[in-house]
Symmetry: C2
């Protein structure tokens, strides 16, 4: 039936449609059931809420999400009907029961998530089932393909399109801007899109955003890459895998790492970006992966899936015992990146060496000769820094790199922790440092985070260990309490 | 800080607080973080949504849930601050990781759920972890106690307080009104509170509601029981275990049965109701439990927990292969119950015999002599029917039992399925019949449901198998499609 619409100023967190009791009775629909709303060519199954006094008998109220998906324009009426049964709940329950899902079942789930037809608790059940029951390689491949097929594709017209990805979990590990700058300066096409932080202190997109625009559509991205060989943009704006952000939003609540979701999320976006040669950095002994054997098992899955999906994948294992660089948090990490690119004397040596190593591995995978030598030379000669400036200025469509850098300012509240005794730092937990940064306000508060004065190894009484930065006194209090309670840094005699 | 409040006409499904960007920046709070809102003596941690244009710089918008919990009255201002860290996410992640939770951790979770501090996806993660990882007996006992301690208690002043519970999953299995009537007529105190349907077509509360008020506070309940020995009320209104309804709301989404949650939910409410002698009916070979060995294992857990909690528990195993009675759905089941109580010739024999059996077992547990003989005599003499009328009239505070019964009217759309051949019904799935009823609109639509003309056994070509009842043509279409697709009834030559 046709009904009038009332646009409500409300983000409900999910697509909601409000009816009054009379209309609900007429339709015989109850709270939490779904109504199918249609406004050609768009449609959505929205969750019903019944509320009297807000809408008239021939009218429905729409939450912001519902309005957005239906793309209403100046429409005053839409068509509503009871939705056909949605089998997603049965499919998720099947997985919770330990059974393998078929290609068709996985496609149904991903499509329904993309169309906003699943609620957040339903998505949480699916993620929990993936985590606790595990997914077979077939299921993971089908998940990857379904996530790829429901999104946009970039179609970069090059025989070799280079890409890299780090499994994450390592605080401060901001190699991407440096690796992209080196590889692009070496002549490779490297249209890098990155995510925002999921569970860590900052994602590459959060860090780049401190000095650059990061939201582009596929056409704009191709223009940037056409001029500079590379880019450093946020993947979310490209619409490469729209179900991904909805899943990540729910995954984040518990900071869960779900292997099948990780594999599918990464590879679906690589397929959509048109990447052909991909380096996967798998840190172990800390971060998300504790043992080398786990890292090897994950690498095997990446390579096997890559083969099935027609991608050239190289995996490398790196040291995950402690954070990389000095700064953790968007502004602090950007300052680290710039120091390395500028070859400043205070540049973090570990960040520099890891970036050269990864750039060389990727160049080698793409067929560049003498990659180690070339990667180091490009960085140390300042060519990588020039390329980085060029990419940022192109993304900003302005010559404002220096101005942007001058505005990298740290948060106003700070607190430094000092060594009470001489000895050795024997533990510097990535997870602990990331959690602390989140409490301090990262990644939303760009100026917040932690500066690590010392890393694993010797320290003298009275030396600085780390400094907290935040824009809120309450958050500083919470962070200090958390630091004392969880002891992410251990100092021994 | 103190801020003004704006009451929003919105059920967000969770407690939400809306700020504009300026206020959010001032507080350094981001979307999906929590703010602690205080209006003495109440407080809540509400989820933050940032929206500009709806509220002023010194004002917060509150969803209906938030308003309700804070009990605002004529208040115009409340106190807000960043909430202290909530460890629930860590606790749930620990359980997902397969580790046992301590008493304190379980208490934290239940308290946070009770205070509305957990979102629905967080609750879904916890339920999924309980389901897939299982809970130890210690965890289950601690969950029971935490759920009991966060709610009201009835404190019935009797040495023996009888109670019964059925594990459920059996369609049409409405023995409770009959058992309560027999036991109360026999002189036992049986203040029975029941739930609404979770995954089945109807719960006892939904069925009783077709002719009676079912919402009472503890004081009113005691007055009813004081006059009639028994009652048939909805447990939800008593506030015995407020976390339970929030958990069930999320459990329902996938129709999950989670054993530890089942045990804790039942026993917490029995403790709160002051029950001392409890009969647990565990159907097997269908419904929720397929094998006798599973039924025995569950029974063992009930008895062991009962011992630890100071409750006298008796478990019985009953036949769960098919629905009990003829009608499935609130009105249809009430018609079945009345037929049995009236000793009508068309009364469902299986419902009658099962009710007598359960009543006799419970009477025996409570020390009544010759319970089998007495239970049958009370039912067949019409004493149970008189007691049932007395309880309903007392609950309605009016002599309107007959009028209420005359208003038990079935839904306007119906469709009967006939046998296309002679043969035998070899399968009559409880799960399938329950799902069909949900599609037809039960339990919210009281007049909807299914009438089973035949049960397992012989049938002749052209005889009626079952009739669908619903108030919606769309739902009739969905139900017929579901019936054809899932084949809940199998007829063989």
């Amino acid at each position: 039936m046709k009904v009038k619409i009332k646009k409500l100023l409300w983000e409900a967190g999910r697509p909601v449609v409000i009816l009054n009791k009379k209309l609900a009775q007429k339709l015989n629909v109850n709270i939490n059931e779904r109504l199918s709303l249609k406004k050609n060519p768009n449609s959505i199954n929205a969750v019903v809420d019944i509320f009297t006094g807000l809408t008239k008998d021939n009218e429905v109220g729409l939450s912001k999400e519902t309005q957005k998906i239906l793309n209403l324009g100046s429409t005053k009426e839409i068509n509503i009907s009871l939705s056909e049964l949605n089998h997603s709940a049965e499919i998720i329950a099947k997985k919770i029961g330990g059974k393998e899902l078929s290609k068709k079942e996985i496609e149904t789930l991903v499509r329904e998530i993309t169309l906003n037809n699943l609620t957040e608790p339903e998505i949480a059940y699916f993620i929990a089932a993936e985590k606790m029951m595990g997914m077979t390689l077939d299921e993971t491949r089908n998940l990857t393909l379904a996530m790829f097929e429901t999104g946009n594709s970039l179609k970069i017209n090059q025989k070799i399109v280079a890409d890299k990805h780090c499994i994450g979990g390592i605080a401060g590990n901001r190699t991407t801007p440096i690796v992209v700058s080196i590889c692009a300066a070496a002549g490779l096409t490297i249209p890098k899109n990155s995510s925002r932080a999921i569970t860590s202190a900052a994602g590459t997109a959060d860090v780049i955003e401190t000095i650059s625009k990061i939201e582009f559509n596929p056409k704009q991205l191709k223009s940037i890459v056409g001029r500079t060989n590379g880019c450093l943009v946020w993947g979310g704006a490209l619409g490469l895998s729209p179900s991904d952000s909805k899943i990540i939003r729910v995954e984040k609540l518990l900071k869960l790492d779900v292997e099948s979701q990780l594999l599918a999320s990464i590879l679906a976006k690589k397929l959509a970006a048109g990447s052909t040669h991909i380096l996967i950095d798998i840190p172990f002994n800390g971060g998300k992966i504790s043992k080398k054997s786990q890292a090897k098992e994950l690498a095997r899955k990446f390579r096997e899936l890559g083969k099935q999906l027609g991608l050239k994948i190289k995996t490398v294992y790196t040291d995950g015992r402690q954070p990389i660089g000095r700064g953790v948090g968007p502004v602090l990490e950007m300052l680290d990146v710039i120091s390395v690119l500028k070859n400043s004397p205070e540049a973090a040596e570990d960040l520099k060496e890891k970036s050269i190593y990864l750039a060389a591995e990727l160049m080698g995978l793409c067929g560049v000769n003498f990659p180690k030598l070339k990667a180091r030379r490009i960085l140390e000669s300042g060519k990588a820094y020039e390329k980085f400036k060029e990419i940022i200025n192109t993304q900003n469509n302005a010559n404002n790199f220096e101005v942007k850098c001058a505005n990298l300012i740290l948060a106003k509240y700070k607190k430094t922790v000092y060594a009470k005794q001489s000895g050795k730092i024997t533990k510097l937990s990535n997870r602990g440092i990331n959690s602390l940064c989140r409490i301090l306000g990262t990644p939303e508060t760009k100026s917040a985070g932690i500066y690590l004065h010392k890393k694993l190894g010797k320290i003298k009484k009275g030396e600085q260990i780390l400094t907290f930065y935040t824009e809120s006194k309450d958050k500083l209090r919470d962070a200090i309490n958390f630091y004392k309670r969880t002891k992410p840094i251990i100092l021994k005699h």
